[in-house]
Symmetry: C2
Subunit: 468 residues, 2 copies
């Protein structure tokens, strides 16, 4: 008998899952209906800052596949501007709203996949819901920002939050010729990097004329005559013609919670097993709305990244299509480029490691991206975090010039395999003068971290410290 | 009692070992004497093509540390222009020649490290030992080439051998404005890459005006009036004002062999154990002259690369200094850039895998270095070699535009840990539009290879093939 898979959310996780399920089961065997409340399916949210910053010309460039393509090529019924507003897991039925028609209806499912994503954090601050204040999550958000910018005389932008999106958007605003103020609660930009590693980023931002307000919170957003005027902060009032929110996201798990589908108390993400099944029969979850297993802390986490959404969606879809796949977890790997500085991280920073219960031993080295004598070699800093005594690699961070950040993937592969820094320092990595110093920065970082572990152990043996 | 370490060969392996031994044991405890027959210690041989090609200005840029620096900073007595010509392992004594003075003398050792390197292959061809024909191994070789080029009216260069050095030197000759013929015995340049993967390299070379003579051998080198005139090949006679040899190298193990120190019958490299000890008490070996364990074939190999020379030298030196270290082996990882094309490889190619006894299953994908919509994204080809049934990763090759080749290190880390391609395709690698498509090329390659392994297994199950 033909079954029906209903997918809630038509971006990376939802459409990856739908496509994989279709590969496993044909249209006569499995009907697939996707409800997406926005106007796009399967797009590159990570590309939005570059679209706004004019690196990418066209909204369509960021769309991987349209609803029409899914319908015609994959027999997937992807309905945009349709929002699922309720789930009855007992009856196996969703209630959905056609946002354009304003009508509501129900649809039965045999299998349900929740891929509802995450939403930008919008703290409860006066005026934050008013005009001129934007999150950066969907292409519709991007379009709204562009419409706002292009319809007025914009001179001053305030960006709230100095994480990946905040920094990328701050740069995009500079590229567009605006004065930019960046307000960040912590004491440094990119607080996912350890203290010290973010200095180079801060310098580059200052060099581009971005005003940094660190250790500062937003207290209110002021409007007059229906237009945005200013942002009140602990560092004074900043005139603003546009406000961009880059304070991170939270999983969209409210729909699941209301339906009695368990949500992690610490993460707010939907609890799933290795195959992406929720705790309720027939209901699956993938992408930003679901928990993932963090392979270093061994704890559940939520990470809103397209890579993870695609991978977990693929795993869910293979299983829904009658195959077998499990998702082995994440490391928290990420890269970006801000004001010409490349940034990469994987695993745990020093503070993360302590919070997780490790005793970290760290080493930071300044090295070069190419042979030292190569004409356009750039400097890069590598920080390696290892566990006391065992020397197990716990994480790494890279900040540097062109050609530095993708090396984080080598650390990620080492971390994935739970290598010690002593093992890592001997790995047969590549070398040629245009690409690396003879000892690749990854190896140098590992070697120095191993030296630090040995010194720490020796110090402990001599009684100056107690290594447990 | 003060002991004496004698090191034969003062480049990467020898000086790494000497430095590490010094870190472990002070000058009052261990005397260190290094004999180097050339005029430099510790230099970047890999940089020579770029020095000749004017990317690097100065010979001195390629010298990491001079004999004087070793003497003053590390109390290492590095004697250049001194060649060890005999070893008496029974008496614990070497015979050395002062090449400038022409005198010979003996020196006793407690520990002996052989770091004699490798020499360019010079097949027995008429005229190959005449003037105008050069190997590319030492800075002295590089200087001899430059002296030759700068002292005459050079118009035509013939490069023999299309491996790393041959290709890099061919490009350097084009950069200097010469007409270049490249003669290669096999049917493609970079025969360490599988057939198909080298096409892009060949195209780029043709695009720079290099004439390729593939499937062709050199039959003789013609001189007249003491000057080089032409190279006779199976493809006709090529006028030549300079000939560069890039046919690979062989380990300099003659000295060891003559002293009764076992040399591998297949590799020609000195046999060593995990700590870099030879089979003779008190004698160690490291670098290009010694065998290394290949972690994929599980067989001994010799690989003449600075990275391995440094690593094995470091391991020998730690042990000679009273510490403990073992060398875990190699993968055959290498990168280079030729005529704007980046090339990377690690582990086994398809043919290598068959020769080693594996049944390889392969996948090749064309992908991009950055997000597809990124303005200056480049294409890159990735070939992944996996084992039938198990899906174990056996090797990978990358050929592509800027930003492609260093990804080989991620494959190397995966290979080191004996991952399957199924495990690899889920690894949490980094993504951002300026650096990668959403699925990094490493992951795409692994995914396609896994698909190929599954298809191969299914085909076998259906009886169309027999998977052993």
């Amino acid at each position: 008998m033909r079954e029906r898979l209903v997918v809630v959310g038509g971006d990376a996780a939802g459409m990856s899952a739908a496509s994989q399920a279709r590969r496993g089961r044909g249209p006569d065997d499995l009907e697939i209906v996707v409800f997406e409340r926005g106007t796009d399916t399967s797009y590159s949210a990570c590309g939005i800052p570059y679209w706004i910053g004019d690196v990418v010309d066209d909204r369509d460039d960021l769309v991987v596949r349209t609803p029409q393509q899914f319908r015609e090529k994959h027999a997937i019924d992807a309905r945009i501007r349709h929002e699922v507003v309720g789930i009855d897991t007992g009856a196996g039925r969703v209630t959905f709203r056609d946002l354009d028609a304003g009508s509501e209806d129900e649809l039965a499912y045999d299998h349900l996949l929740l891929a509802t994503g995450a939403s930008p954090l919008r703290p409860d601050i006066p005026g934050l819901d008013g005009p001129g204040v934007f999150g950066v999550q969907t292409l519709d958000d991007g379009q709204a920002i562009l419409d706002h910018l292009e319809g007025r005389d914009i001179r001053r932008a305030v960006v709230v939050g100095a994480g990946y999106i905040g920094l990328e958007m701050a740069e995009a605003m500079v590229v567009r010729g605006y004065e930019v103020d960046l307000v960040e609660r912590s004491d440094r930009p990119m607080s996912t990097l350890d203290a010290g590693m973010g200095d180079r980023v801060a310098q580059a931002m200052l060099g581009m004329g971005i005003r940094l307000h660190l250790g500062t919170t937003v207290e209110g957003v002021e409007h007059a005559d229906g237009d945005l005027r200013a942002v009140a902060t602990g560092d004074g009032t900043l005139a603003a013609d546009v406000v961009i929110l880059g304070m991170g996201t939270r999983p969209n798990s409210g729909l699941a919670r209301a339906a009695g589908i368990p949500v992690g108390p610490e993460t707010g993400g939907i609890v799933v097993d290795l195959r992406q099944r929720t705790r309720v029969d027939g209901v699956w979850a993938a992408g930003d709305c679901a928990e993932v297993h963090h392979r270093v802390t061994r704890a559940p986490a939520t990470i809103a990244l397209g890579t993870i959404a695609n991978k977990t969606g693929r795993v869910a879809g293979i299983n829904l299509g009658g195959g077998y796949a499990t998702f082995p977890g994440v490391l928290g790997t990420a890269v970006t480029k801000v004001c010409g500085v490349e940034i990469g991280r994987t695993g745990l920073g020093e503070g993360d490691a302590e919070a997780a219960g490790f005793h970290p031993v760290c080493a930071t080295v300044e090295t070069t991206t190419k042979a030292g004598y190569w004409p356009d070699t750039a400097t890069m800093d590598v920080k390696v975090v290892a566990e006391r005594r065992s020397g197990r690699l716990l994480g790494a961070q890279i900040v540097g010039g062109e050609g530095s950040c993708k090396r984080i993937d080598t650390f990620a592969a080492a971390l994935w395999n739970e290598m010690t820094v002593e093992e890592l320092l001997n790995v047969d990595l590549s070398y040629a003068p245009p690409f690396s110093p003879l000892w690749d920065p990854v190896l140098i970082g590992a070697r120095k971290a191993w030296d630090a572990v040995v010194a720490d152990t020796s110090a402990a043996r001599r009684g100056r410290d107690d290594p447990r």
